[in-house]
Symmetry: D2
Subunit: 384 residues, 4 copies
């Protein structure tokens, strides 16, 4: 029997954590063959070369594709999308998959969706139907309209996809496979385990309390990233008793501004307990998040994985606006006062109970099973 070929495109640092357990399940499935394309910032030193982690996990890429046009401006974001389509269409033609799997809502995801669509390949989309601020909102729903099979991460998202006119029999809420990692892996942290990551700034003791900071540029307020991150870091600087773990931002229009802010803050505060990292493996990211006393910024992982783990989260600004969320989240403004007040509230409050709003930890296997049996076809029609 011919195995069904499932091509997963991993095109950003965050992507991998969300599909790792799906990739595992596809690889182990008797009726499925995993094809892996690793592309875009996953290959780049500046973004932690996630490809190395992927390989160490035993996944050998079938293709490595470079398509980030450097600049992190609005137009390079567009150009990267375009170049991605050019490269991915050649790869799809060679690999000839039955189903392409794409995740979330970034421009790299759009490249995958467009290339698969025009090549008449069935497209499966993870994490559709969510609501947020940012340009991602538009892109996410557009990808939903290009997709043939939907694996949203929550019940509300599922209902939203169906309302958009998608065939309800092809929308499945199994939760997000990122939770699978949190459920199945040991989340204790130790200095030994974390020593491989190096990083810059003051040395860190992972067994002591720390606050985690991840702040990405917001595409729709392009140009304000420098001030925004400066407010955040200044707010955090008030909490002298805690170590701070800062992750460099994603590759988006505006990354340079945010990075510059971080770099300048770092130079001016060499003796403060801040530590800066490029990337963690998905498991270690789970550990870092799980053991934080609080997390601050605008990463969607704070809302999703944070919800499952019950980690207190301060979400800054409108990048995640309107996103479904658990009780672990306080949304606040960009000013250092707003931010430090919210952190204060969380610190007084402590950890929250586990919440499976975004999945219970067995999404990967369920999605793989569905991919093995669902009818693949080319034609799709809006339901109304």
């Amino acid at each position: 029997m011919n195995k069904r070929k499932i091509c997963v495109v991993v095109a950003s640092r965050a992507n991998y954590g969300r599909v790792k357990y799906l990739m595992k399940a596809v690889k182990e499935h008797p009726q499925l063959e995993l094809q892996l394309i690793v592309g875009a910032s996953t290959l780049l030193y500046r973004f932690g070369e996630a490809v190395n982690i992927i390989r160490e996990d035993g996944f050998e890429p079938d293709r490595k594709l470079y398509y980030i046009v450097e600049g992190e401006t609005l137009s390079t974001q567009a150009k990267s999308t375009g170049l991605g389509i050019v490269e991915l269409s050649t790869a799809f033609e060679d690999l000839n998959p039955d189903i392409v799997v794409t995740v979330a809502d970034r421009f790299e995801t759009m490249s995958t969706a467009i290339a698969a669509t025009y090549m008449n390949i069935t497209l499966a989309h993870l994490q559709g139907g969510e609501v947020s601020g940012n340009i991602d909102e538009k892109v996410r729903h557009a990808i939903t309209k290009l997709s043939d099979i939907h694996f949203p991460a929550s019940e509300k998202s599922k209902q939203r996809i169906i309302k958009m006119g998608e065939d309800a029999s092809r929308v499945f809420n199994y939760g997000c496979p990122a939770m699978d990692i949190l459920k199945n892996e040991e989340l204790v942290i130790s200095n030994e385990k974390m020593a491989v990551y190096g990083g810059t700034g003051k040395p860190i003791d992972w067994t002591k309390p720390y606050i985690l900071v991840v702040q990405h540029p917001v595409t729709t307020s392009y140009g304000q990233g420098y001030e925004q991150v400066m407010e955040t870091l200044s707010a955090l600087n008030r909490f002298k008793a805690y170590q701070k773990v800062v992750l460099w931002p994603n590759i988006d229009a505006g990354t340079d501004d945010v990075s510059k802010g971080i770099r300048i803050f770092r130079e001016m505060n060499r003796n403060e307990p801040f530590h800066y990292f490029r990337n963690f493996s998905p498991e270690d990211y789970g550990r870092v998040l799980n053991n934080a006393v609080c997390c601050v910024g605008n990463s969607s992982s704070f809302i999703r994985e944070g919800c499952f783990l019950g980690v207190p989260a301060v979400i800054i600004g409108d990048r995640q606006e309107s996103r479904e969320q658990g009780q672990n989240v306080i949304v606040t403004g960009y000013s250092r006062k707003d931010i430090s007040d919210s952190i204060e509230t969380h610190l007084n409050n402590g950890r929250y109970p586990r919440n499976t709003l975004f999945g219970g930890g067995d999404a990967g296997k369920q999605i793989a099973d569905k991919l093995a049996t669902i009818e693949c076809f080319k034609k799709k029609r809006i339901t109304y």
Copy 2:
């Protein structure tokens, strides 16, 4: 006062007929400045170099952009989309429009939509919300999700867009500007007027009865175009008493197959009254359609303009499946028997009364007025 800059991207033969009256209205509007980008097949000899007609109409392009990757396979369709994004983003950066206008649902339209989206430019979309077969169905709705302002061509389409979660206060049904041409121009045909088009095949007398044929490849049944067009032309060959006016197909995956079919049929039937054309100006296309005794194929113009004019139309196959339509349309299968039976029915029946289902002929001005006053903003949120 600064005029609002409206950038219209004309990227295919059919596009121009649909926006011409909008371009006119924008150009004449005291608060608007027209920016014109002409690209893709509009510049190509094989597709009739519509750019020449556009210039003769008094519209001088601000940019001419080449981005068709030749091949008309599935992958070149994807690659053309990608290259279009690369070229359009540079042009948008230079021209810096307030609003970009895009039309319909082809891959060139997708290029425009993606480039505008990632450059944070307000996107206005004409002809969203329709339902059809083909890959266009997916693409059309995806473009709706990327667009900020919607100008659908019918009431049902408007309702569908709103159901998809778009803000009802930004969806306007003024009809399709293609009807403006039909209402405002003199549609009498004459041999003098049509002499400029040359074409190949038997000489034609435009004052004598003829049947119009336009058959495009169907992306989702890629590879069957040769047989499909052969059936159509063979069916038409039975109607010896009528001249046949055949247009070469659009640039889509599969165009080569259809073109080859037409070319071989032409060589084998040199003495039959068939005539082959590459392109007409929108007005002349209106004339050709208006004076046809029947039109046969799968062009959406048969359904839309045909509805307004009341021209009997035989729609073959599923490219236009489920599309809203007037009583002038008979939908039929690909076999020569089905086709000739449907033609027969129409010939016995004759012309149909005017139907303004897709607009009453004053869309261009109404859309321009709305573009001049509507709030341009960057943020959009699904309504549920």
Copy 3:
């Protein structure tokens, strides 16, 4: 032992005829492994889909790459070169050849040369060192400067390459492998053999006398192709006693003009004995050339293969200006009078004796042997 991987890039109709016997020799060589990339116009219907002939000859492409940006203007020629580099670099990264082989001087050749150069792959170049008019002159010598191993087709070319500063120990004149076909294949023509090609225009009897016409656009006089080809065809029209075999031009800036000229001439002279073809296999092209009473136009094959076969050739204009040539060639101007006078001279004179100026027919094997043993290295230095 690991075989050395030799990657041949075939990127135009003419390319294939020139490397076929080299590909054969590489494939059969015990120390070599053939990698084949087929790209650009070789894949396109308009240019005869040479890929089909390549496959029928038993060569299965490792990659098929589309990178022609349609338009045949100056800027699309540049863009195709650029897109070619993007596609070829991905392919080279996957295939990881020891040596890349490229041929002649077209923009597709330049794509190959640049991609190989920047990827640090040893580059072998066939047909360097020649002199001609056209933009190819610049490009050919630039490719020589990028190449590591040179296989010119004549002694003068070899000397010119060495004078340009290339290491004489890496320049080898084994002649052009196109002659291998002429020496090793049976060149008798028959109507049966040629029936597969179809073509348009009057039926042809290959056993009766015919003149062969191949006229390409001249990039450096871009815009004059229409008039030029009209003069040529009009000159040929005077020789009513001979059939005329016309090949459609190459894909270059200006192809549309030349094609249009041919198309219009064809429509106006339906009853004259002209026949139009898209492509022949290399062997059949050898047959067509060998059996022509005269060949007219500006194809370099008239000078090279024509020299070996002794076929009278009228070379029009400056595309081949200054090119080394045998006695079978008369160079003439663009006017119909010049052309018909030159044809007349040739017809009175008849065939010329074999001349091995461009090779004796065993180049493929000699080049393959050299590729198997020559030192591959990365560093190159000009010799003065």
Copy 4:
């Protein structure tokens, strides 16, 4: 009278210093109009955004083009070249220059040369004819063969270009315009002037002795950059009495390795007197170089500008192998011992006298005058 349009493409940090005085001369010339395209790493934060300096100097770009595909691998270097051609050809089509000016031998230069060549625009090349190691050697001579007018920087280079078969009447040795800056600007350094550059590492006192370090990756020994730069920095670390000024490397395949080496060295040697900068204006770079007690690495500016200024230079490895040089240069190996021995020798020896081997400081004006009057034509022929 129509002014001749001279389009200068500035596509890297080093480029600008070399053409600044030519741009000035073109701008002030009564018969010339300056068109300026700023592209590639000139726009990038990681490479110091030279575009800001260009603007502060009063040159407003006509186009800003992003075409660096991130990754700094061999294949991204190729892809950047390709994407550059795509972008530049569109810009050239819009700007329609009479002459395009390009400088030196990097991949961005190749993009410019190819785009101009295929668009039939006269190409003027600065700094051709030189000899060096690295892939640049190949590329530089290939660009010479694509160019129509040559402005080499030394007499030997001029002779080499002519030997390569270029028309001697179109090769002009006016020296390198980089010397114009050194001759015409005040080269005294001060802490006030230099305060704008920030940088990281230990604070620097510019009035105290320092050694300048610039080390780029070497494309032909791709993968060894990390070790190479570590040796260099370790050698420098022995000279505790001197401050060290380190510039980040150019964007080339291998940049990531070198940058990583510098970053790790920096983290491990926080208290040593090293200071790290991204970019200087050309004048300030002249100042930094002029006031260094010694310069160490593989920048060609050490050989050229260093020669004019008489600054002792230690050139490491083969990137500049065989390059013409003055007595200020010691060439040495990659080991820390070789490097520190060579520095020692220079420190004992002191400064060298001015040497005008690469120009006397008035190249810009002479080149502009020649561009105003030389015949522009399209056709070029090798001279033998």
